[in-house]
């Protein structure tokens, strides 16, 4: 492959045409695009469920849906948003950006890459079709605790199998990312020269491989409990329902970081670019990420402080959970130090990154409060928890994804998106997300349990505020779609290779739009 001119040799090929391009593609950009569109569609599917949930909760009384259907909605809303919207978005960004950021032509395992995407729609077809089965969709909450989940109707085996499929997809995606990062880095790019986004994804991929099989084991045990007479989680047969919660959260807590570490990576790329200053404390950032990943394995029981644990267990999980605030704080401080005495501009990716910084920190604060066991006895399973995890997931993970999309979209398409409408999208989103979720702290503290379709009248006012905010949030996302489509169709202008004045890293040395195969020849890394 010593071609130095614009003419290509026989091995070079562009995309196939039509549907075959997408079905059979092994190209990291095509697959990244598929992941990102899939994620966007799922964001709207899960979002539509959230709109029904908030419409039901706009006033006391059962106004719209049956309580059972409400429970189905909260369950599938969570599963769709976690496994369908947030995780595939990060995998899509990894597919697009990992080869471009490490100087590789493509992902290391392109055929597996195709497969890991295409089983996702299969998994979600299995999950979403349960709405049309007798007994409806799973209604046990996404945490699928037994014995309640064993009361699920015909949807139950579909739920289990769809989780298996989604898990296989995640594991294959994670293996691909690890192999790519470990083997295809440009010469000279040592581990501690990798961009932070690569670091966070490398660590995330290991977390995925470590915990997705645990979830698969847990749901398989549920399956055998229901159909094959085992009693892992049934006290009448010598089992223990709480055992499931331990296994589930051993998966579930690292899962939380699977959804936030790549977000940290994106923010660590965006803030230096628009501050025109290098990331402060690169090595500290890497070590903090690794520390968070390690701690994520030893804090799981803080999701279940009220199951009746020995005091030694309560204290241990309280202390380890509080400890997570240290590396997380280090990250926040380093981002602020990166901005400090920079020369900032406020294009849309930077606006989302700054909103992330403010609002994720608020989610971190409520997380710290939740770590305090006695206080958690009050907060647990109240709307305070709902407010907390939506603060870390929506203005946390989702804002980081949006920052990443706006940041790299010009590189992907060669066109600049419409800055006016992107900023409109940002401000509507950032304001409405607070109107939606901040009041949920209030009703939670005042005593409103989570996962209820109807509530005592004294919670009515803040719930209405929250519902109105959520409708604005939902509608605002249509602007996001319009801006993306507008950009793909030509945008406001052509962009140069660097796109942003302060851009840094290998991806900005490629032409815009990036060529079908990223680096034919490994670039030099000093």
């Amino acid at each position: 492959m010593e071609s130095t001119t614009a003419t290509h040799d026989d091995h070079y090929h562009g995309p196939a045409s039509g549907i075959r391009r997408w079905l059979f593609t092994t190209n990291h950009k095509d697959i990244g695009t598929l992941y990102l569109w899939f994620s966007l569609i799922m964001f709207f599917v899960g979002g539509a469920m959230a709109m029904v949930i908030r419409a039901e909760l706009i006033a006391p009384g059962m106004n719209l849906v049956d309580p059972m259907f409400y429970n189905q909605l909260i369950t599938v809303h969570a599963l769709v948003m976690i496994f369908g919207a947030v995780m595939p978005a990060f995998v899509g960004l990894a597919n697009w950006m990992v080869p471009m950021m490490i100087g590789a032509p493509d992902m290391a395992l392109p055929r597996m890459n195709n497969w890991s995407f295409w089983i996702l729609p299969i998994g979600f077809t299995l999950l979403l079709m349960t709405f049309f089965l007798p007994g409806g969709a799973p209604a046990s909450g996404w945490t699928i605790y037994p014995p309640l989940v064993l009361q699920t109707g015909d949807a139950f085996p579909f739920l289990v199998f769809s989780i298996h499929v989604l898990g296989i997809s995640s594991i294959m995606g994670a293996m691909n990312i690890i192999v790519t990062i470990m083997n295809l880095r440009a010469p000279g790019m040592g581990l501690l020269k990798m961009p932070i986004f690569i670091w966070t994804w490398l660590i995330t991929a290991y977390l995925l491989i470590a915990v997705m099989p645990v979830l698969a084991g847990a749901v398989t045990m549920l399956l055998t409990d229901k159909y094959f007479g085992t009693s892992f989680f049934d006290a009448a047969g010598g089992g223990d329902p709480v055992l499931f919660q331990h296994i589930f959260w051993f998966f579930g807590h690292p899962e939380v970081y699977i959804m936030i570490l790549p977000a940290f990576g994106i923010i660590s790329e965006v803030i230096p670019t628009f501050s025109r200053k290098r990331l402060f404390g690169y090595e500290a950032m890497v070590y903090a990420t690794a520390a968070i990943a390690f701690l994520s394995f030893i804090v799981w029981a803080h999701h279940m402080f009220t199951v009746g644990m020995p005091i030694g267990g309560l204290l241990f999980f309280m202390f380890t959970t509080m400890l997570i605030a240290v590396p997380t704080g280090v990250k926040i401080f380093n981002w602020v130090a990166t901005m400090w005495r920079g020369a900032m501009t406020f294009e849309t990716p930077m606006l989302f990154a700054l909103a992330f910084l403010f609002l994720f920190t608020i989610g971190g604060f409520s997380g710290l409060m939740l770590a305090i066991v006695p206080a958690d006895f009050q907060y647990h399973d109240s709307y305070f928890v709902v407010a907390h995890f939506h603060y870390v997931l929506v203005p946390g993970s989702v804002f980081a994804i949006m920052a990443g999309v706006y940041y790299w979209l010009p590189k992907w398409t060669g066109n600049m998106y419409n800055e006016f409408w992107a900023k409109t999208h940002f401000w509507l989103t950032a304001i409405s997300v607070n109107i939606t979720f901040f009041p949920q702290h209030f009703v939670g503290l005042a005593g409103m349990p989570r996962r209820i379709p109807d509530y005592p009248v004294q919670f009515a006012d803040w719930n209405m505020v929250s519902s109105l905010g959520s409708f604005v949030f939902g509608i605002s996302q249509l602007i996001f779609v319009a801006v993306i489509i507008g950009c793909i169709r030509g945008g406001t202008r052509k962009v140069d290779d660097r796109v942003w004045e302060g851009s840094h890293g290998l991806e900005w040395t490629l032409p815009s739009p990036a060529p079908y195969h990223s680096f034919d020849k490994p670039p030099e890394v000093r």
């Binding site: 329902p241 290098r278 009220t306 240290v326 602020v336 005495r341 020369a343 005042a446 349990p449 009515a460």
Partner: protein, 292 residues
């Protein structure tokens, strides 16, 4: 019916608009609910409230510092002011400082939290105990050693108001303590350490009365403990806090705390009622018995 409901929404909307217009919360329009944890009526609930406020103010102070630095930076260090970006990107000393200081703050939080926890987890020396058995969707209370036992369900008025809109005969807004009223209240004496032994018949539930401090899961096949000692007579309301199926929102908990002599009278009344209605209570095999 639809119109009535719609006018309720409109009424609240116009109140909201008014509040937003005046921007003086609390004067023009008072939100009905509290926005904070209740201090409650037990030593546990007030301990938790103190801990909650302590940590709240600590994070407020940290937030003011961090957000303050961010806001200063956003205003001063912007390109439009013509600044040149600095080139520093590493400083081991500050990394050590901002690792160590948060750690020390956390130790400062952990000490009172652990003390409170040790106190809460002390189940010894209780004065009386009640076995609480949850099921879909009601609570069963058995006063241990008193020969008093009964079910507690959502009261009829709330039940009529919680039907789907076109079927309901009562507007939820017109029900006193909507979804927080039961047919049979749990009556307990004040200034007595009451131990609850929690279990469930079918799925996991959780017993939560915010003013008594904290909640505990009721798990089929297992027995969990929690306790409270109420200092003020009164009626305290809560709800099931663990998703337990279709009517999870409709199995409230109401505790009535009374003076000791009134409690004795109530017990006597209950025993008479039980005797009148045959041995209904004896037929109820609780999961606690099964677990043994």
């Amino acid at each position: 019916m639809f119109k009535a409901k719609f006018s309720g929404v409109m009424r609240r909307l116009s109140c909201l608009a008014l509040a937003a217009g005046l921007m003086i919360p609390g004067t023009a329009f008072a939100f009905r609910e509290g926005i904070n944890l209740p201090e409650g009526v037990t030593s546990i609930s007030s301990d938790i409230y103190g801990l909650h406020m302590l940590i709240f103010w600590i994070v407020v102070v940290i937030g003011v510092l961090v957000f303050g630095a961010m806001i200063i930076s956003i205003f001063l260090h912007r390109k439009s002011r013509g600044v040149k970006p600095a080139t520093f990107h590493h400083n081991t000393t500050v990394e050590v400082i901002w690792t160590a200081i948060p750690f020390l703050i956390l130790v400062g939080m952990a000490i009172p939290a652990s003390q409170a926890l040790i106190e809460i987890e002390d189940y010894r020396d209780y004065d009386m105990s009640i076995t609480v058995t949850a099921s879909q969707w009601q609570w069963h209370y058995e006063y241990r050693g008193e020969d008093v036992a009964f079910y507690s369900r959502l009261d009829a008025k709330s039940n009529a108001a919680r039907q789907l809109r076109d079927r309901r005969t009562v507007d939820p807004e017109e029900v006193d303590n909507y979804l927080l009223s039961v047919d049979n209240k749990v009556v307990v004496p004040v200034d007595q350490k009451v131990l609850l032994l929690l279990t469930a018949d079918d799925v996991i539930h959780a017993w939560w009365v915010p003013e008594l401090g904290g909640k505990k899961d009721a798990i089929p096949g297992f027995v969990n403990e929690m306790w409270f000692e109420i200092t003020e007579p009164g009626i305290y309301r809560g709800q099931c806090a663990e998703l337990c199926g279709r009517d999870h929102a409709f199995m409230p908990i109401v505790v009535k705390a009374v003076e000791q002599d009134e409690y004795e009278e109530w017990l006597e009344e209950q025993r008479e009622q039980t005797a009148d209605s045959g041995d209904a209570a004896d037929d109820q095999v609780t999961a606690l018995d099964v677990a043994r």
